[in-house]
């Protein structure tokens, strides 16, 4: 116990004396939480639209103004032929082409039915599919309006009987920040924990100080615990700063219990720190450790369900994501912060994270060799 006290004292002194680390504690949460949610947004806006209107009628103009008034589209071209409009797509001035046929108005009134044609530039898949969906919605809406005007509502008219209405739970306004910020909190904890711990033992190897430790009667697990605890404390501090920013900047306050949240983050930190320490027992230089950690970071972040839903991943990817501790943290933070899930709901996640922590740290202790 005394040995650990001396080790902790030393580690804390070294960390607090390190200007870069001191700065990162504040800069990282602030920058990541303020920049990323504002910039990396799934909502597609400013879709460039080129219109070819062969009809030039009141109805066609009405449709166009309805589309542009939605705020998602920007009319970049109003042409007389499809060819001209398509040139807009080719030169990247338009993402969508809407072609309104010559008999549009007449068809609507006489035949009670008209067709428009939409061509989508699918190079940017998200923009294309969302843009296509938006315009589809707007046209359907327009359709209903026209029908209401032309066909008086009677008991016998064929207006669809089933209409879908939906309400959004837990994130009522579908605010993207509300979804993103808890995820970024998870990433923050992952990055700080992973990198700091991965670099730490390797740094001692490079400086040669590890030799001096290895000739002392220090027990291996003492040494690892001495490395673990300071970064664990640091991780919790950074997480708290992050929570504070989430509240101050986005007004996000966890619906659920704060203690449950911290319990989970604490266990998660042990797991990710164990992982970092394990990597640093395998490496001889900070460069190696950095590269390897970076490799895993990418996987952790991109396959942890932060940006893309795990439910829509292929089967093999779902299996991989189960071996990714970040998956569980991201989920738990979202559950507790947004849904207000309690300990009972997140306990399976915490147990899994606990297993990660035990396995990774034991492995790190085992793999740390005092002799070669």
């Amino acid at each position: 116990m005394r040995t650990i006290r001396f080790l902790l004292q030393k580690e804390f002194r070294q960390i607090l004396r390190n200007k870069t680390i001191r700065m990162m504690i504040f800069v990282m949460p602030v920058v990541q939480l303020i920049l990323i949610p504002l910039a990396a947004d799934y909502e597609v806006k400013n879709i460039n639209l080129a219109v070819t209107d062969h009809d030039h009628s009141a109805y066609s103009r009405q449709l166009i103004s309805k589309i542009t008034a939605s705020g998602y589209f920007r009319l970049t071209g109003y042409n007389n032929s499809f060819k001209e409009s398509f040139a807009f797509i080719e030169s990247d001035r338009a993402d969508l082409v809407l072609e309104i046929p010559a008999r549009f108005e007449k068809d609507i009134i006489r035949e009670n039915e008209a067709k428009v044609f939409v061509a989508v530039n699918a190079i940017n898949g998200t923009k294309a599919s969302l843009g296509g969906a938006y315009i589809g919605n707007i046209i359907r809406d327009y359709n209903n309006e026209v029908r209401a005007k032309l066909v008086p509502v009677t008991r016998f008219n064929p207006v669809p009987a089933v209409e879908v209405t939906s309400s959004n739970w837990f994130n009522v306004h579908m605010n993207y920040h509300v979804f993103m910020v808890p995820g970024i909190l998870a990433i923050l904890v992952t990055m700080v924990g992973g990198f700091l711990s991965a670099l730490n033992i390797v740094k001692e190897k490079e400086a040669g100080t590890i030799e001096q430790i290895n000739v002392t009667p220090i027990k291996k697990y003492h040494f690892i615990i001495g490395k673990l605890i300071p970064f664990w404390v640091l991780g919790n501090i950074i997480f708290s700063i992050g929570m504070l920013i989430a509240w101050l900047v986005y007004g996000i306050v966890p619906v659920g219990n704060l203690l449950v949240l911290y319990a989970c983050v604490s266990v998660y930190l042990l797991a990710i720190l164990g992982f970092g320490l394990l990597i640093s027992t395998f490496c001889d230089t900070q460069q190696q450790a950095m590269l390897i950690m970076f490799f895993f970071m990418m996987i952790f972040i991109l396959m942890g369900g932060l940006y893309t839903s795990i439910d829509s991943m292929p089967g093999w990817a779902k299996i991989i994501s189960q071996f990714n501790p970040a998956t569980y943290l991201i989920e738990v933070i979202r559950m507790v912060v947004l849904k207000g899930s309690g300990l009972k709901d997140v306990l399976p996640h915490i147990i899994k994270l606990g297993l990660f922590a035990i396995v990774l740290n034991t492995w790190a202790v085992f793999n740390y060799r005092k002799t070669t």
């Binding site: 080790l7 100080t209 030799e211 002392t216 070669t372």
Partner: protein
């Protein structure tokens, strides 16, 4: 010389096909200053790392302070001090913090730690530097501090790997005074060096060539045996035959 503190018997270390240390055998007695000489790449550091329990031998036997170097490395580590070729105190801790830390992990009590660090600082005359980061000290001071920290827990044996490399002559002399003082307290000193004048300060010296010990005796006897004027000569005669070039 009754107490034997280091017994090495045909100690060997191989790295693949390369035999770094080839069946070296020797004994070191209590309170002795044992000089371990050899050209660069002769296998000195490898041998020393095996004796300290940092490296597992490929073959051979050895005991340190009565403990086996295969099975009892942790007991050995309580009994030894080690100062590596590379300066290995924490540069981002202060002088006093380094002393306290290493004393602490060797299990010194708080009172003992306090007294010993005061003594040490007194002896080195570093009153004004105690709160300075070690990184800011000149090399000579660093080396003296590293040595003092290595013997802080009163080890039976202290291993010094080229402790005076790059240090000025005055500081080297001061350093050797520290070594003598430790030896007088009964600490056995096992030291490697490239300075032949330092070799003359040792009670006995061994000279390694290409992984083998080619000569082992007191400086006076060695000079006689090789009909040489100085240890420098002896060393030159032996090392000239070396095939390994680092």
């Amino acid at each position: 010389m009754s107490d034997t503190v280091i017994i090495a018997d045909k100690l060997t270390k191989k790295f693949g096909d390369f035999i770094a240390t080839n069946q070296i055998s020797f004994e070191v007695y209590k309170g002795e200053i044992f000089g371990f000489l050899g050209a660069n790449g002769a296998g000195k550091t490898t041998a020393m790392r095996m004796l300290c329990g940092l490296s597992v031998p490929s073959a051979g036997k050895a005991t340190i302070a009565g403990f086996d170097i295969y099975k009892q490395t942790e007991q050995i580590k309580r009994k030894i001090g080690y100062m590596s070729q590379k300066f290995s105190l924490y540069e981002d801790l202060t002088v006093l913090e380094n002393i306290r830390f290493f004393g602490g992990i060797y299990g010194l009590g708080y009172k003992e730690l306090k007294d010993k660090s005061e003594q040490l600082i007194e002896k080195l005359g570093m009153h004004n530097q105690t709160k300075k980061l070690v990184a800011e000290l000149p090399l000579g001071w660093k080396q003296k501090l590293a040595f003092s920290v290595a013997v802080l827990h009163d080890p039976a044996i202290v291993f010094l790997d080229e402790p005076t490399g790059g240090v000025d002559p005055v500081t080297r002399r001061q350093f050797w005074e520290l070594i003598y003082e430790a030896a007088n307290r009964g600490v056995t000193v096992f030291v490697t060096t490239h300075y032949m004048d330092e070799a003359e300060y040792c009670n006995r010296i061994s000279i390694m060539v290409d992984g083998k010990i080619e000569a082992l005796d007191t400086p006076v006897n060695l000079k006689k045996a090789f009909n040489a004027a100085s240890i420098d000569d002896v060393f030159y005669q032996l090392a000239r035959g070396a095939k390994r070039i680092e």
